[in-house]
Symmetry: C3
Subunit: 300 residues, 3 copies
């Protein structure tokens, strides 16, 4: 099965398609619908968004495509995020990019997201980034109301530390179902800051953004990038895999914390490369070789 359970009621596809760059893809509604259906045929049912993606435009583009075939909705999971306030042309009164986790901002962002997606509910709402100014009581009040009204079914966070996750958990009544953080062979930050240990401890399955390190591992330039890519190619040969992105996704999927990669490509071939990783069994030694190549020194 290509599904993974985050709670007894919530299942994701093991690979998630991310729409961070949807606005740049310049797809017609029909073309986007086709892409959604193609990814579905590959087994992807979960789609990652945020209110701010594409200068607040991506949610609506997705919703417009979805409106062409409303029956799709019941078979997919929509993840979106709130809390960042961008100072763009759309909000000329804002002088800086800031965060807002007030009750009113969370509620009004979700209303807007529901409108954009033309749906009655969000499957998972994530707080986009931790803020030094954060009132967990307001967040809890907003979550409770959104849950009671059926507007959001599940809640989680993104880019939180274990301390922040633990803190918010102590205020909200529902479990936080995931923490979407940056994980890739290039970015090992969450192995170092205790987050991976925390995920294992609390049985939280993390989502991984930038699994290809924003292209750094596809077009390496620095010594570190070349070192990682060289090892990825060696492992690709050992595994008889054509593309190193498949090796990268296999590396993420092999980890015992059950990482859920968010694939950001518009190209169905790249998404297939990701899905192919589900068929691969990587050995612990191969996994550690990639880790060591990133760190740049042997294990102690």
């Amino acid at each position: 099965m290509n599904q993974i359970s985050l709670t007894p009621q919530l299942k994701f596809s093991k690979i998630v398609h991310g729409y961070w760059r949807l606005a740049e893809w310049n797809l017609s509604n029909q073309e986007l619908l086709k892409l959604i259906q193609q990814t579905q045929e590959l087994g992807i049912t979960t789609f990652d968004h945020a209110d701010i993606y594409g200068n607040y435009s991506c949610e609506k583009l997705f919703g417009d495509a979805l409106a062409l075939k409303p029956s799709l909705r019941q078979n997919i999971q929509i993840v979106t995020k709130c809390g960042i306030k961008l100072a763009t042309d759309k909000f000329p009164t804002r002088s800086i990019n800031s965060y807002d986790y007030s009750y009113h901002h969370i509620i009004s962002t979700v209303e807007s997201s529901l409108n954009n997606f033309k749906t009655d509910y969000i499957d998972v709402l994530l707080l986009h980034r931790p803020s030094p100014f954060f009132n967990p009581e307001e967040v809890a009040k907003a979550f409770n109301e959104l849950k009671q009204h059926g507007k959001v079914l599940n809640f989680g966070v993104s880019n939180f530390t274990p301390q922040q996750f633990e803190m918010l958990s102590s205020y909200v009544e529902m479990p936080l179902v995931t923490n979407q953080v940056e994980i890739s062979p290039y970015c090992l930050e969450h192995f170092d800051n205790g987050n991976i240990d925390y995920f294992l401890n609390k049985r939280i399955k993390p989502m991984a953004w930038s699994p290809l390190a924003g292209g750094k591992l596809i077009k390496p330039t620095t010594e570190k990038e070349h070192r990682i890519v060289k090892t990825l190619k060696e492992i690709a040969t050992e595994l008889e895999v054509e593309n190193i992105d498949t090796v990268i996704y296999a590396w993420l999927l092999a980890h015992p914390s059950q990482i859920i990669p968010v694939v950001g490509s518009r190209h169905i071939e790249r998404i297939k490369n990701a899905m192919n990783a589900l068929k691969i069994t990587m050995s612990t030694e191969q996994w550690l070789k990639i880790y060591i190549a990133s760190v740049g020194k042997n294990l102690p």
Copy 2:
């Protein structure tokens, strides 16, 4: 109301007056009594001390002034600290500044503080700094005895990490009511080390020492200091506030962790500036602008 509850039984004024520099102020007992009464008229009822302040002299100066009007005692809260041993002329056998959290040192320090203050009880006793040599069983024994004898009503710590707070909490029978740490627009250390998250998680209201960063934000010299002060001045204009110290206190008071600033000035005007902050509502964007000015780069 200008009060804040640390426990159901323990209330502080929202601004605390700190007597770190009392010995330098060269006040007669009568002058000090007048200052105490003036701060009381402003709404301040909580006074922060430590055994070591003024080379072990400040507690007694305060006690001498208090003795002129003993009825004051029942309307104020005395906070003091123990655990640091200074190698000064008062203790010629000590060769270095060190820490001592032994049962005997805690008990004897409190006896001395009670004598200095000429009072029967300390409202809150804080352990002044964490020590790498720290026996929590001895601390718990001392706390229990001081509590039972009514000599100390509440206990807390200062400058502890979450790990140290959690550790000591696992030994003592009573809740630790606060952690007094350095917080200011200049010093964001406790936003970075997990302490602020921990305070929110455990519903601990922190006290903030050096809220003006030891004068750095009143007389800026470095680029960072000038950057912060520039932003403070902009926000002062927006809030129609005269003094940037009022903005600084408003920044501390606005935070959801309910920070209790310790004001260290002898000048009643400066203390009024702090109290004025209680009337100000700072927006989240204003709060974050000050934070960003300190960090020196935009939020991620």
Copy 3:
């Protein structure tokens, strides 16, 4: 008494003898048996090993000596470790040093250790180092089986952070009895990373490897090493102790977390120096002076 309880059923000698370098000592079975008996006469009953020590040879050397006097077994505690896979001549198919905490590797390593020691049980099995690729469910399965079959009586870890210790604890049914980490006046890492606080919090008695910092404090070369040794010599004079290694062990033994030093010397005189530390009472000020000498600046 020279014993220390790790659990109600598990007692160690307060000083442990470590066999990291046993293979280099070139002892005959008879000579090693004599050394074991001499250390026993000094009060040492606990012996620290790892599968990999001496390129996988030390366990068997110890077992061969033990076989000369099987009655010794019931009076000693054997600690050994698993999880590191060395790429040595003994394992020509391994291309890198790696870690393996799979069920099968743990089980087969313990079977091999039991054969090497010619014993029916290991007193304490430690996971040698934390791994970024770590499946706690497999570890728990292996621990349960080894415990049920009586092959390992107690389990612990080595070089784990608090987060890793907490994580593994949430999977295994038995308590983890210790965390063996590097602690010495030279290496204060675990005072800084929260581990010492965690040990006190959870009542875990740590074992300390490299208590003499791998000889750095016996033959100092750097400024830091000379600074520490100078202070150790001053304290040795104050305590009327001949050797600074005795002062180092006294420093470890004095700490409230009840550190259990692992002595790695083959020379009975050096082991006596360690045991002599059990008779010494170091003052808190002396303890902190050594700490300060290592940090290189006064306490805050």
